[in-house]
Symmetry: C2
Subunit: 329 residues, 2 copies
């Protein structure tokens, strides 16, 4: 038994809210959308809802997510709730949340994956995420926050000379030149249960503005750092970070190859995005590579490292080596 | 000088959020959207932002509304803010709000119409509406609330025998068989500054479930009632309501004609929506009428009452009589 979700708004927004969430965190069964067009009325909308609900099998709860209080999608959902409550005793398991936004949907998509989630918990999490993730940037307290993050970074800096006891726990190595962005900040961060993101890139680590921006955009509860290859090698064996779960982010395979050559052991590399530039050839949806990339990838593969392409965790893995062999003959 | 708004999200959601808001409350200049597709990167997005910003002339503030914290739309907007802050001293006038939803956009569209709105106020209102309009229905306190509304309705009922002193202040008469829905709950309620909606319909007034639902969906601060024609005539002249600003909502012109025949003075009728049913002919976007409707409309027109079609206040008025004459010869 599971919970069914129906997103409904005026116009085409409902569909796109679901599509955007799927783009960020992957598809979910039992999540559907109903657009409401200006030439329709509440009765038509109720019929659309009803035929949609019939498709769900064996559901234990029904949650409507609508745009505004008192709009037709809300009114139609409310009529459905009245009908259902008259027939079944499930008042506590059918409700509407207004003001639907992407953070609310992401929270729900994640909740649907948890085995210990009941309907009330899903609803409460959705309300909380929807509201709490409406944030202003820059905030008035901007300066304070920045200082705090800078301090964390300084700590990181100061420990590189301590004696190594146990190495860093690397959970994911990803090549994605968009660095910290939607898919990384949501889907990957959750699924890998990391608490630290380390971006390894010599030139970005020297660009102070970019470093500050990257640290600002790290998801809640996650520490982000930007370091050069040299500095990463120094901090890798620091015991202070042995209990952390770390994601390494690279912009290219040559940097990954460099840390492997310098003794960092990894077994798999996830390739999420390498954008097109002149001289590169597109080999996959959002992956373009040049001859240097090819050489580095092949060298990494020869070291026994898996090279798999996935934008988000639920995508099917595509083998990078096979792709290179078919495109670069 | 005015404030420019850029809505940006992963996928096609940004465009549809703007379209849905326009559908509800009308178009606004200086509100634009940037979709972000999965084959693009932050640099491309920054370029799209920059060419978009160039189109705005003489703006005093720039507000980005994005889907999630740390996503590419957020990151690109953040980079723009850094660039702008380096060139100009307008840090307080450029910012990002995450978790964009329709209530937030409606708040901003309304704020842009106010002459005394400054940037900080627009931002604070947007945050507040975005968060506060994320609501759960039915709430746990449902029963209490219902009792309160029922009491208000009983008051209304009890006063019809009091001696009339001054008549009800009718601000808008609207025919819309969707009754209280998105456009009515937002655009019309705001523009007419009403505090009471009276739905006049004999059969709906006898359907207790529907009455309860209609009262539930009334916008915040607005009292809604459903009454029969007889009851409306009785309460019309009650002095208790002489200070209220009232919207009358009808499903058809024949009911309006009836109250006019019984002495209620009105000068104009807004026609917002009459849905298609068998035997009706579509004469306009969301307006279908039959012979009985035609006769009532023509009779109302002969009494000197304006009959104008508009879905929302900012639409151009279409003359119903001219339309009837061209379609029913």
């Amino acid at each position: 038994m599971s919970v069914a979700i129906i997103v409904s708004t005026h116009g085409h927004t409902a569909k796109q809210l679901v599509r955007t969430t799927e783009m960020l965190v992957g598809k979910k069964e039992n999540v559907s959308y109903i657009n409401f067009y200006s030439d329709e009325n509440t009765d038509i909308l109720i019929k659309k809802f009803e035929s949609n609900i019939k498709r769900f099998e064996d559901i234990s709860g029904l949650l409507f997510l609508v745009d505004i209080w008192g709009g037709s999608p809300f009114n139609a959902a409310n009529r459905i709730i009245q009908k259902i409550s008259q027939s079944y005793n499930i008042q506590e398991k059918v409700c509407i949340i207004t003001g639907v936004n992407i953070p609310m949907l992401i929270s729900i998509f994640f909740s649907l994956e948890e085995s210990d989630m009941n309907f009330q918990k899903i609803v409460q999490n959705a309300l909380k995420s929807g509201r709490d993730e409406i944030k202003l940037h820059p905030e008035i307290q901007k300066e304070e926050k920045k200082t705090q993050k800078e301090t964390q970074f300084d700590e990181f800096r100061s420990i590189s000379s301590e004696k190594a006891k146990k190495n860093m726990n690397i959970v994911l190595v990803r090549i994605d030149d968009r660095l910290i962005h939607g898919q990384v900040a949501t889907r990957w961060t959750k699924d890998t249960r990391i608490n630290r993101i380390i971006i390894i890139n010599d030139s970005i680590s020297e660009d102070k503005v970019r470093c500050m921006l990257l640290k600002q955009v790290s998801p809640p509860g996650i520490n982000a750092h930007v370091v050069s290859i040299d500095k990463f090698i120094r901090v890798y064996s620091n015991p202070k970070y042995s209990k952390d779960r770390v994601m390494l982010l690279f912009t290219n395979p040559t940097d990954v190859l460099e840390i492997v050559r310098r003794g960092i052991e990894i077994s798999s590399i996830n390739i999420g995005g390498m954008s097109y530039k002149e001289g590169k050839q597109q080999v996959h949806d959002s992956i373009s590579i040049d001859q240097k990339d090819v050489e580095s990838f092949m060298e990494l593969s020869r070291s026994g490292i898996e090279l798999e392409i996935r934008k988000i965790t639920s995508d099917k893995k595509t083998d990078m080596v096979r792709l290179i062999k078919s495109k670069f003959k």
